[in-house]
């Protein structure tokens, strides 16, 4: 039991990402309100962003900005700098997620104008009439 807890604690970043992802997935699929679905999607995307960010982190490492003279004297030691690539990738992923949210909100406005509600069951009721 204590081994299990130790395993969870030592890899807590992955556990957080998995839990967040499940919350997001549940909301995106299971919620009735369209805005809540969209929020679930956002949580889902944020969980993935957290996964990427945490994979670039190294304990005790510093930001990846190099001092020219010290690099020329001592060379680069990869242990001392965090991996910047996942951060760069996630900037792009954030842009994608913002655009998806933007499009989805615009579509939600159109749905609201069409049906006067954002609850999925009420919309389906109006459709079946």
């Amino acid at each position: 039991m204590s081994e299990l807890i130790a395993g969870i604690v030592s890899k807590y970043n992955y556990w957080i990402y998995v839990i967040l992802m499940m919350i997001g997935l549940y909301a995106a699929i299971g919620k009735n309100n369209l805005v809540k679905k969209l929020l679930g999607l956002n949580i889902f995307q944020t969980a993935i962003i957290l996964l990427y960010i945490s994979m670039g982190v190294k304990r005790g490492a510093s930001i990846p900005i190099l001092d020219k003279t010290s690099v020329l004297l001592n060379g680069v030691s990869p242990v001392q700098i965090t991996n910047p690539l996942p951060h760069v990738l996630m900037l792009t992923a954030i842009v994608v997620s913002v655009s998806v949210t933007g499009v989805a909100l615009a579509v939600i406005i159109r749905i609201f104008r069409e049906y006067g509600t954002l609850e999925e069951d009420e919309i389906l009721e109006k459709l079946n009439k």
Binding site: A93, S99, R110
Partner: protein, 499 residues
């Protein structure tokens, strides 16, 4: 030939740049819409044919954007397969665009420039997807094409925004799964370049982390391509979308995603890993495809609207191609790639015909097709050619790719896939002959019935802007069918390396 070094990049850039020009100039005058949509697509079509010929003469080449050498920079790979897909995308979208312009004039009067801005960006995104050799770049382009599709679908009337919203949720979850898979791959290999990852994957022990990455990437792509149990978003999205948008989206979106699956299998995970470390997954996919073909063909039988019926046929065709890929032999793979080409032209032909009919009858329920053979003879003739191709009657191209798929299935011993293919051919026969009966035979036998639909007596042949592309696509079905040998040779050139 040095002047052609960058040509494939210009092919991609032409629709992208003209999308922005169109958005600005289209506000000033509507006359810009025509030259700025057709122009770049003609350029792309001609350019991509030249690129294909160059690749066939000189072999595949890779291109590094911004001179950052791979694996650090983003690499574009131009090989016979991607060059062929480039030709398919540009030619299909060019043909579809003529009809789309005519439809956009009636669907979005005064807002055509906004519509075609999204339309052109999507085409550029699709071209980028087939060229890229970078796993993360692929995600970004996948989202560019998807976001523009969400927008295009949401521009429709009535239930279209709701269908688009469902597509947004499912499509984004699919893309996120893909991104997650790439994340696992990055943790394992430290690289994002496909060829580089493939090299490193070969040296790894095939543990659960690699299997997880593989599962996430595949499920993500399957959601995007609407493989049978994951197809829920497609019928509504495609049948409520504006006609002008669906003309280009329906033939290209699912097909390009299947091409991506082939790319991921061949160039990212390597066939040895995909097909041989998890034999259960391999046969599971063939079974899923077979069940998908049977179920969606049966669902198509229940539809009373032509366009809705066609959307279910698209889902069945996705099963054809996915099954062909997972047969894991040369015939199956060749058949799958050939079917990507053929199915995009067949779908184009059928959707163009549906659009031409709808432009005169205003709706596509089967009742409104009554007696159309006499009133729209050219349209219906082209429609029948498309139908023959879907059914698989020689010499239309649908027969040949189905033949390859059958050969592959027999070779692999997957009889369930053989049965599914034959079943779907028979169902398609029923589906289309029912429509032909509505359009042709009922007209002769039942004059009284026709009198009840007097409203349709004003129906006449579709306008030239819709008729000419339709006829071109119908002729292309026969030409591609007769040229199958040549095309299969091009595909084999690439596939022989793997099998």
């Amino acid at each position: 030939m040095t002047s052609f070094t960058n040509l494939h990049l210009y092919v991609l850039a032409a629709p992208l740049l003209s999308a922005f020009a169109l958005n600005l100039l289209g506000r000033l005058s509507r006359t810009w819409v025509y030259p700025l949509t057709i122009g770049p697509l003609i350029f792309s079509t001609v350019g991509s044919i030249i690129v294909l010929m160059r690749v066939l003469n000189e072999g595949a080449y890779s291109y590094t954007v911004g001179n950052w050498s791979p694996p650090y920079g983003i690499e574009l790979l131009v090989d016979p397969l991607s060059a062929m897909m480039l030709v398919v995308i540009s030619a299909v979208s060019l043909i579809a665009t003529f009809s789309a312009i005519a439809w956009a004039e009636r669907e979005f009067p005064g807002r055509e420039h906004l519509f075609f801005t999204l339309y052109l960006i999507q085409i550029a995104g699709l071209m980028g997807l087939v060229l890229t050799a970078d796993a993360f770049n692929l995600y970004v382009l996948l989202e560019i094409t998807s976001i523009t599709t969400y927008g295009l679908i949401a521009m429709g009337k009535g239930r279209a925004p709701l269908a688009s919203f469902n597509y947004i949720i499912v499509g984004s979850i699919g893309a996120c799964f893909y991104l997650l898979g790439v994340g696992y791959l990055y943790i394992l290999t430290g690289s994002l370049n496909m060829a580089d990852i493939a090299n490193i994957v070969g040296t790894l022990n095939h543990g659960p982390a690699l299997a997880t990455a593989f599962a996430f990437v595949l499920v993500g792509l399957c959601l995007k391509m609407a493989l049978f149990p994951l197809h829920g978003w497609l019928p509504n999205a495609y049948s409520f979308a504006p006609v002008s948008a669906v003309l280009m989206i329906a033939p290209l979106m699912t097909k390009v995603t299947i091409y991506l699956m082939i790319r991921v299998i061949l160039n990212l995970f390597t066939p040895e890993y995909v097909f041989f470390t998890h034999p259960a997954v391999q046969s599971g996919f063939v079974w899923a495809a077979a069940i998908g073909i049977v179920c969606s063909s049966s669902l198509a039988l229940g539809q009373r609207d032509l366009r809705r019926m066609l959307t279910y046929i698209i889902i069945a065709e996705v099963g054809y191609m996915v099954g062909g890929v997972w047969l894991a032999n040369l015939h199956g793979m060749t058949g799958a790639v050939l079917h990507i080409l053929n199915d995009s032209v067949m779908t184009l032909c059928l959707f163009l015909a549906a659009a031409a009919i709808e432009s005169r009858t205003e709706n596509l329920s089967f009742d409104s097709l009554l007696g159309l053979c006499r009133k729209m003879p050219v349209t219906m003739a082209a429609f029948m050619l498309g139908a023959f191709s879907i059914i698989g009657i020689p010499p239309t191209c649908g027969f040949f790719s189905k033949w390859y798929l059958l050969l592959g299935a027999i070779e692999a011993g997957h009889w369930e896939f053989v049965v599914a293919l034959l079943f779907s051919s028979i169902v398609n026969l029923v589906l289309f002959f029912r429509i032909i009966e509505f359009a042709y035979i009922r007209d002769l036998n039942n004059k009284k019935l026709e009198a009840e639909y007097r409203i349709f007596t004003t129906v006449r042949e579709a306008p030239m802007m819709m008729l000419v592309p339709l006829v071109v696509s119908a002729i292309a079905l026969i030409v591609i069918g007769l040229g199958t040998g040549q095309i299969a040779k091009i595909i084999n050139l690439e596939m022989i390396k793997f099998f």
